[in-house]
């Protein structure tokens, strides 16, 4: 799981082009949206594309992202349970 978390942090930074953020800056349980990294709805859509491309998880409803993107830990948990690649 720790490996997936580290992997995810790198991918979030890359996909969302967070130039001034390093993986160490992202706490495992800190919120990704609103406070914390301050991501918005377009970032959520970008993460949905990333999950489909990298882990083969297809979300039908963007509202599902709300729960999944609570933190990197929650996201990693969801991915490990649902990944198809």
């Amino acid at each position: 799981m720790e490996e997936l978390i580290q992997d995810l942090k790198g991918k979030i930074i890359e996909v969302l082009n967070l130039e001034d953020v390093t993986p160490e800056d992202i706490e495992n349980d800190a919120p990704l949206f609103g406070e914390g990294l301050g991501l918005d709805s377009i970032d959520a859509l970008e993460l949905i594309v990333m999950m489909e491309k990298e882990y083969g998880i297809k979300l039908k409803n963007p509202a599902e992202g709300k729960e999944i993107f609570k933190s990197v830990s929650v996201m990693a948990q969801f991915i490990s349970e649902n990944r198809t690649k």
Binding site: L16, N17, L18, E19, D20, G38, D40, S41, I42, L45, E46, I48, V49, E52, K53, N61, P62
Partner: protein, 747 residues
């Protein structure tokens, strides 16, 4: 009260019919045009769409367009609908040649670009279509089928484009520039925007259900629709009866998000309110609202809030006819206007198909086509990305008679008595040192055929968080805009108007390349969002919380020109007091290659550059003003007579800033320089060529007048510096047919 604007012709092509009578029959029968994909070639067959039910080949055959001649579906649908409107209004060739043509589209020729993009890059099989790509090409192709118009413009504000084209045309009439305007737009379905909307996760796999609690997104549609609008004096002279009246209009910016509406629908509220005020009506006067009602959870909730706020207990029947036509994106404004006109004519309410479940926080749409009260005034909403919100008030033709007796004297003759406007700031980021006038003393002169912009440090305006998704062009546009606002001391301009030939073409290329090489999976939302032309104007509004008028023109090399003309007209009319006018275009190495093949860039002696330029226009005199903006005139395929008339209006000038490089010139310059022998100046040798380079010409001229100097490099060989610098004419010529003349005078 404003002089009434009469609607004397209309034409429509959509999924529910190829003309007005078919459209009416579908509306009355409750027959939707939304169904399974038939013509668009895409992998996404899961999405229902509303396609015009004839193939592109058949459209071309019906119009007698020979095989082998480049044609795009947008143009063909446009030609079909435009013909109906011209015919109903009984416009003669002479009438048309005196009329402004304002066309709206966002996809332009994308249907062919997405098929041939790899060919464009790697071979010469379909080079004819490269120049068909941009929005302005669709405008010219549609207009030219019927012959010359007096002027042509292209609005591109995503899903409110056609509503804004109607507004622009109405301002043309009110300002007295022309007495007739033909307004509307055309938009075909493309894989590009189907995938773009899919990446935003706002497409429904079932038939859309606007304002229903279970709504899950929109269905895309396509079509074209036009109106002929004219002054009462013109209609009377031509002996034509109005089919309806355009009573008022409003445009406001939500200034909230690039793709989402604010929870309280502030922009929508302001647009509707302005339209009512403009029409001199109360909310209780409105008998029907054709809502934007896309069927996305966000729009319908936000729009409901805005309508409930404005209308309170007096909410008239509301429906979204996107349940019939699908969401026809940039043309929805004129398609739905024609639907409103049919409703006024036939006195019925178009119903809201597919509605079953009440939204807890929303309106209840109309399901019964029989109106409780006669339809006298109806409101039509169109909202676009970036919170570009527009609203039109349309009235029964009987209202015209009442209005005529109350109206102010005719506007004819207003031209020529323009109020002075001041340019209070002019800034640029280009291939010269940015946010500086260092080029006046020591311009950098380039030998290369293609140079990229010299960027400035954007960190002073943008945090890394804010800039994470922005392409370079957006950052440049923000830098010039914010600097112009700071210099002029205007925090919230009444209008933010942008010209851009290609928009953020780098992002368009990313999505096109993805579709061509990786297919239709995993398309990212960011490039799609930024590919929309009005992203630039919206960004400035969002960043500065400016809720005023917002518009974007994408009209080839005359993009900035259209923006300047719009601002100038509205300042003359007193609709606005300040306007931030921008011209923004980038050029990627790939796209430079394509435009070189198309013969536009890479010509001998020419340097292709990039442009970001912002001007602040102000109706208030200011001691710090750079100069006065005294006149803006545009004309398309003008006769010698038209040029003579404009030359007389302009009078003698000390110098003409021409779009030509070095000794090139045109017969028009000869006419303009006949009496006073003005000095000819050039600016593209310094700033390069780009679709919005004209903005840099106006920018440069403003600074020449302010500093009372002419850099040596701007003098066309054979001319010497003028003795005085009081009156400067800045001229543009786009594609050998589209002219702009801007007169600047010493402040």
């Amino acid at each position: 009260m404003n002089e009434p604007i009469l609607i004397t012709g209309m034409g429509i092509v959509s999924a529910i019919g190829l003309d007005c009578s078919e459209t009416l029959a579908s509306l009355r029968a409750g027959k939707t045009g939304i169904g399974a994909l038939r013509f668009l070639k895409t992998d996404h067959c899961e999405f229902p769409v509303a396609e015009v039910q004839i193939s592109t080949d058949e459209m071309a055959a019906r119009l007698g367009i020979p095989e082998g001649q480049p044609r795009t579906r947008t143009q063909l649908m446009g030609i079909m609908a435009l013909g109906q409107a011209l015919e109903q209004a009984q416009l003669t060739d002479e009438d048309r040649a005196q009329a402004a043509f304002v066309f709206a589209t966002t996809v332009g020729g994308m249907d062919m670009s997405e098929q041939y993009y790899l060919d464009f890059l790697h071979n010469d099989l379909h080079n004819d279509y490269i120049s068909q790509h941009d929005c302005g090409a669709s405008t010219e192709g549609t207009a030219d089928y019927y012959g010359p118009f007096a002027s042509v413009s292209t609005l591109s504000t995503a899903c409110s484009s056609a509503a804004n084209a109607i507004i622009n045309g109405a301002n043309v009439l009110r300002s007295g520039l022309h007495e007739i305007a033909v307004v509307g737009g055309s938009e075909c379905l493309t894989k590009f925007h189907l995938n773009g909307f899919n990446s935003l996760m706002i497409l429904d796999e079932e038939q859309c259900r606007p304002f229903d609690e279970t709504r899950a997104g929109l269905n895309l549609g396509e079509g074209a629709a036009f109106l002929v609008i004219e002054t009462a004096a013109s209609a009377q002279r031509r002996g034509v009866k109005p089919i309806a009246v355009l009573e008022g209009y409003g445009n406001a910016c939500d200034a909230y998000h690039q793709t989402a509406s604010s929870p309280d629908g502030e922009g929508a509220f302001l647009a509707m309110k302005e339209a009512l005020t403009d029409a001199g009506l109360q909310p209780s006067d409105i008998n029907y609202i054709n809502a934007h009602g896309t069927g996305t959870p966000n729009n319908d909730s936000s729009e409901s809030q805005a309508m409930m706020r404005l209308f309170g207990d007096a909410l008239p029947p509301v429906s979204s006819t996107k349940s019939f036509t699908g969401h026809t994106t940039s043309v929805s404004g004129s398609i739905e206007t024609v639907i409103c006109l049919l409703a006024l004519q036939e006195q019925f309410l178009p119903v809201n198909l597919g509605w079953k479940h009440q939204m807890p926080d929303g309106i209840t749409p109309v399901m019964d086509p029989t109106p409780q009260r006669p339809l006298r005034h109806v409101l039509c909403n169109s909202f676009g990305f970036g919170g570009n919100d527009s609203s039109l008030v349309l009235g029964h033709p009987h209202n015209a008679d009442a209005r005529l007796t109350h109206s102010a004297p005719s506007l004819a003759g207003r031209v020529g008595v323009e109020a002075p406007i001041f340019i209070t700031a002019a800034t640029q980021v280009s291939i010269q040192e940015g946010l500086s006038e260092a080029w006046m003393e020591s311009p950098i002169l380039y030998e290369e055929p293609y140079v990229r912009s010299l960027d400035v440090d954007f960190k002073q305006w943008l945090s890394p968080g804010e800039s994470r998704r922005m392409g370079k062009l957006l950052k440049r546009a923000l830098a010039t805009s914010l600097t112009a606002m700071k210099v002029s001391g205007v925090e919230h301009p009444d209008a933010i108007i942008t010209g851009t030939g290609l928009g953020c073409i780098e992002n368009t290329e990313i999505l096109l390349m993805h579709l061509c090489t990786e297919g239709e999976e995993n398309c990212k939302p960011t490039p799609f969002m930024q590919s929309t032309h009005n992203t630039i104007s919206s960004l400035v509004s969002i960043h500065t919380h400016s809720h005023g008028y917002n518009a974007t023109y994408a009209h080839k090399e005359a993009s900035f020109d259209c923006a300047l003309e719009d601002a100038w007209m509205q300042l003359q009319l007193g609709r606005i007091r300040t306007a931030l006018v921008g011209g923004h275009d980038e050029m990627t190495p790939q796209y430079f290659g394509l435009l070189r093949k198309a013969g536009y860039l890479g010509q001998p002696g020419q340097v292709a550059g990039e442009t970001a330029v912002s001007l602040m226009l102000d109706a208030q005199p200011s001691v710090d003003a750079l100069c006065r903006l005294s006149l803006v005139r545009r004309c398309y395929r003008p006769s010698g007579e038209t040029i003579e008339r404009i030359a007389n209006e302009i009078g003698d000038v000390d110098a003409i800033v021409t779009p030509f490089i070095s000794k090139e010139t045109s017969p028009v310059v000869d006419i303009l320089s006949r009496s006073g022998r003005p000095t000819l100046l050039q600016y593209k040798n310094i700033f390069g060529e780009s679709y919005s380079a004209y903005g840099l010409g106006v920018y440069a001229a403003a600074h020449l007048l302010h500093r009372q100097m002419v850099p040596e490099t701007m003098l066309v060989p054979g001319f010497r510096c003028p003795d005085q610098l009081e009156r400067l004419l800045v001229m543009n010529l786009s594609g050998d047919k589209d002219y702009t003349f801007t007169l600047l005078e010493k402040a």
